[in-house]
């Protein structure tokens, strides 16, 4: 009786352990499968012209304008989101203690972190792209700056959260020491607290950059796309994810192969960024 109970428990345990190992194996298998396909499917299009030719002449197999566009859009997004995000995170960590608004905003920021990016794209379409018709004789113009703002909205909550978390890790004695010397609060914040949390904040910015580099949905109705290289953020701009989206829908297998090559470049860029963010700065940042 007790021997059979013992056996049942042992079998149950072994089954659970085996299933758990299989689950982990499945997860790793899918990672390997997806990474392998992005490399093998696009390998034949991974040539120098991928980085030099533009998408206006598709058969030449280049994505240069999309890569330049992506760099500019990401740069704009980070440029807008970083000061606002660091400021907002600082307010949450340092100023909101006696306010009921603080916890509410911290909570809503976590929701914004996972909000559907396509809706944020539509929001930016409404507030930036639609009003542009009043500036340019009735024509609605998509623009790089609209794309940059859409990406900034996605980067913002990541930066707010890491800044907030990193500042709260700064020991309170540092604040007390500075305040007792008569340092005003703003100087304490900008010159001591943010400086000592700097590497954590940089990690947050890099993670935000990794996050927005792969975003497609919010760019469809903001930066829109461009078959030529555009350096002017007031004009429509191509981006790597958006061109991959277009080329994937294309019926021609040759164009699909270029999409795979673009996907490989994009994936490597994003994974390298998140690895750098995690290991170069070795801090405990949560990023769910």
């Amino acid at each position: 009786m007790s021997a059979s109970l013992y056996t049942t428990r042992r079998i149950k345990n072994v089954v659970a352990m085996v299933l758990s190992v299989i689950a982990t194996g499945l997860g790793l298998f899918f990672l390997a499968w997806i990474l392998w396909e992005t490399l093998s499917q696009g390998a034949s299009a991974l040539k120098p012209q991928l980085f030099t030719k533009i998408t206006a002449y598709r058969e030449e197999g280049g994505l240069a304008n999309a890569m330049i566009g992506s760099l500019i859009l990401n740069f704009l997004g980070i440029l807008i989101a970083t000061p606002i995000g660091v400021a907002a995170g600082t307010w949450l960590a340092e100023y909101s203690r006696r306010s009921r608004l603080g916890p509410a905003i911290r909570f809503l920021n976590d929701i914004l972190l996972s909000a559907p990016s396509i809706v944020l794209g539509l929001f930016v379409y409404t507030i930036v792209v639609l009003p542009s018709k009043y500036l340019s004789n009735g024509n609605v113009t998509f623009s790089g700056i609209a794309g940059g703002i859409a990406l900034a909205l996605i980067a913002l909550p990541v930066i707010v959260r890491t800044t907030d978390e990193m500042l709260r890790l700064v020991p309170g004695t540092l604040r007390e020491a500075a305040l007792s010397l008569g340092v005003p609060q703003w100087k304490l914040t900008t010159q001591i607290l943010i400086r000592s949390a700097r590497s954590g904040i940089v990690t947050g910015v890099l993670l935000a950059l990794a996050r927005i580099s792969g975003e497609t949905a919010p760019l469809l109705f903001t930066a829109f796309g461009n078959t030529f290289t555009s350096l002017n953020p007031l004009t429509p701009m191509a981006s790597l994810p958006q061109i991959i989206y277009e080329y994937t829908k294309d019926p021609s297998p040759d164009i699909n192969t270029i999409a795979w090559a673009g996907a490989f470049v994009l994936t490597m860029f994003v994974l390298a960024l998140s690895l750098i963010a995690r290991f170069a700065f070795r801090s405990k940042v949560s990023h769910d």
């Binding site: 149950k12 659970a16 758990s20 190992v21 299989i22 689950a23 997860g27 790793l28 899918f30 990672l31 499968w33 990474l35 396909e37 992005t38 606002i84 995000g85 400021a87 907002a88 307010w91 340092e94 100023y95 603080g102 509410a104 905003i105 909570f107 809503l108 976590d110 929701i111 914004l112 996972s114 909000a115 559907p116 990016s117 396509i118 809706v119 539509l122 929001f123 409404t126 507030i127 909550p157 005003p184 609060q185 703003w186 990794a210 580099s213 792969g214 497609t216 949905a217 469809l220 109705f221 991959i244 989206y245 994937t248 699909n256 795979w260 996907a263 994009l266 994936t267 994003v270 769910d288």
Partner: protein, 342 residues
Amino acid sequence: MHATASNAATAPGHTGARRTSTDSRNDLIFGWVLKACALLVLLSLIGAAGSTLWLGQDAFRTFGWGFLTSAAWDPSNDQYGALVPIMGTVGTAMIALVVAVPISFGIALFLTEIAPQWLRGPVASAIELLAGIPSIIYGMWGLFIFAPFVAEHIKPWLMNNFSSEPPDGQVSWLVQHVPWIAKFFSSEYPFFGAGVLTAGLVLAVMIIPFISSVMREVFQTVPTRLKESAYALGSSTWEVVWDIVVPYTRTAVIGGVFLGLGRALGETMAVAFVLGNTFKFSWSFLETGSSIASTIANQFGEAQGLQRSALMALAFLLFVVTFIVLLIARLMLRRLATKEGN
């Protein structure tokens, strides 16, 4: 600063007072600027909901509550109903959860209880890399690699066993005795890989890293003495996990699941290619369909007038639903944070 400091030493009263008043003014301005930035977070959420509701009001007015229950999506007759995209969104997200939750649980269990210490870091990082892959890549992989795989291996098996028109011609015993089951496994194009099931499975792979990383984090918060006590009483690893770890972390685990659900509902690019983008109402998992996000991505560019308004109304619905799901997720995760603090 240095100049004022030395001045203050020679004439303490005058300059000191001025410095204090300048400093307190600067402090006030600085505080307000920071607060304004924090309010932008709030504003962007309100703005996203408000702008989609504003531009979607035509559709809501024209169709009323019928917008939610009508299966019509017909741009040529200007008739729009949200039922098919809602079903597609909910259906794919449910399949994703059913597949992803047990696998994520297994991964979290492996990483916290089973794996040797040296293996935990690398495996956890690898699983998190899955979360770093851009969603458009999941979409491509789904379209070119996974959908053909489903069409070749998974779908024929399901149809042979559960559908009333199986490719091998023999209606299975189960379908003969429980005919209603066939309703969920019919397919107009049996050799076509795209469909609700395929999209749900791609979403499952996408949300596994999110759910498993939350589970792993909360499993680690279980006090070691609780687990060791159970081990000391002779519990097996599985019993410790099922009777100690899971009850202790239940709320946060559900929070993590809801977090994954929120991701799955709002995902656009991973499902845009593999859902088929058709608007015919069906109960079948193997049929093509469309989701709210994929409909917006595919149609918004060319849409005008009422169609555009209907798409905005869809976006509003999606935003409200994901907001509620994520709200529940964060509330459940927050309760764990306070518990941890004690």
